[in-house]
Symmetry: C2
Subunit: 221 residues, 2 copies
DNA sequence: GTCAATCATCATGTATACAAGATTGATGTT
DNA sequence: AACATCAATCTTGTATACATGATGATTGAC
């Protein structure tokens, strides 16, 4: 009754391919053959092309005219840049959240934080809970556009984050940082929240780009 | 020799339609008929659809399944949110620029500022020079991804900025603010630059959303 | 034996054809 | 006269056909 969900095939395809990229089933640099994808999903090339075009616009795939589409691969420099921006956007969301957060939102945030704590021994589940936690901050910022930008970047960076999920001790550190962030949001210390989040994200960016710099030597396209 | 520029038709179309939207030739809410566009550009519907899809992903047009595409229209709230994010991204670019700017880049910035000064009596030309000025800051941030995000947002907000180009006294105020920004970048006062840019952008956002709130009463869809 | 050029094959880009849902106008009813 | 229902038309979504440029293999020359 609400959304009849006509959901054109191309939308479903976009979501499906995006999921595979983000989940790491399709690796950076990998070729995305239109005909093959069309066959695999049992549709014609037309909706496949539409899906690839959309993914290209959002940056997940790269289309080289007349030479086909590949899963976009980020250089370590670019990855670092993206984390630098992500850190700032998160900091902004946190600063706004400290000012604008509602009672319901801070409850959701606390719940998400608790979920992280409950999954401190399973890095995959912690990672999922961690995303929810950060999205709770975006939502509490009261700026829907900012929240969208944050989620989009979070999503684009996900395949790279997964690479270093299991770094020793990172989970405990992350959880402790979350703790401080929640506390500062509760007390409305905007600048403090911003600074905590900036550090929280940036440290990942630095580690990830180190990691990817190493990986790049292997799978260089 | 560099780019053989095969430039598929769909890319040219995307650029053409995007330009018309950004320039204000196509107004928010206006219907984008695929057949009509195809006829106008003397191509088939296929590349038109690809172009519209890309524009939808970047947010300039809205595609309602089975119901066609329209030029995306932003609510005053959303517009305010976008300016809020823009202000923060610009502030970030400025802060980084104050730390990282090269001699050549500060020269380019000074030139762009001078160009603004030379066009202080022509709001259209001032506006163009103003964009160049801000892009010089993005470039000087040393973060290419950030620069891209800023340019994308600048572009998306352009049609709304044009609405109030001629507000009395704004040009002179803007130019004076630029002056202070350049000075602070020269002396490397990152936080000062950030604060100046935040205010410089935000004041526009507030004005624009007021303006659009007024307009919304007329052309409500 | 190696390298280069040419040709065959294949994937992409565009056009056209077909299917299906949405919009609009007309017609009939209350 | 106003409203609802139904049909005709139009537009979008998908499939298929065709054109063109890229890739790669084969053949010939050095």
């Amino acid at each position: 009754m609400f959304d009849a969900a006509p959901t054109p095939i191309s939308r479903k395809l976009r979501a499906a391919i995006e999921d595979e990229i983000v989940a790491g089933a399709l690796l950076p640099g990998e070729r995305l053959d239109e005909t093959a994808l069309a066959a695999r999903f049992a549709v014609s090339r037309t909706p496949v092309r539409e899906a690839l075009n959309q993914l290209a616009t959002s940056g997940l795939v790269e289309i080289r005219p007349r030479r086909g589409a590949i899963v976009a691969s980020l250089t370590p420099e670019r990855l670092y840049e993206m984390f630098e921006v992500m850190a700032e956007l998160e900091a902004m969301a946190g600063r706004l959240a400290a000012r604008r957060v509602s009672a319901a939102e801070i409850e959701a945030l606390a719940d998400a934080h608790a979920a992280c704590g409950a999954n401190r021994d399973d890095s995959d589940r912690y990672y999922a809970a961690n995303e929810t936690f950060h999205q709770a901050i975006y939502a509490a910022s009261g700026n829907a556009f900012l929240a969208e930008q944050c989620r989009a970047l979070q999503r684009r960076l996900r395949p790279y984050r997964r690479l270093q999920l299991r770094v020793r001790g990172r989970l405990a550190t992350s959880f402790a940082e979350h703790e401080a962030i929640v506390a500062a949001i509760r007390t409305g210390e905007g600048e403090q929240v911003a600074e905590l989040l900036r550090a929280h994200i940036r440290v990942q960016g630095e580690r990830f780009s180190d990691l990817v710099a190493g990986l790049a030597r292997l799978g260089a396209a």
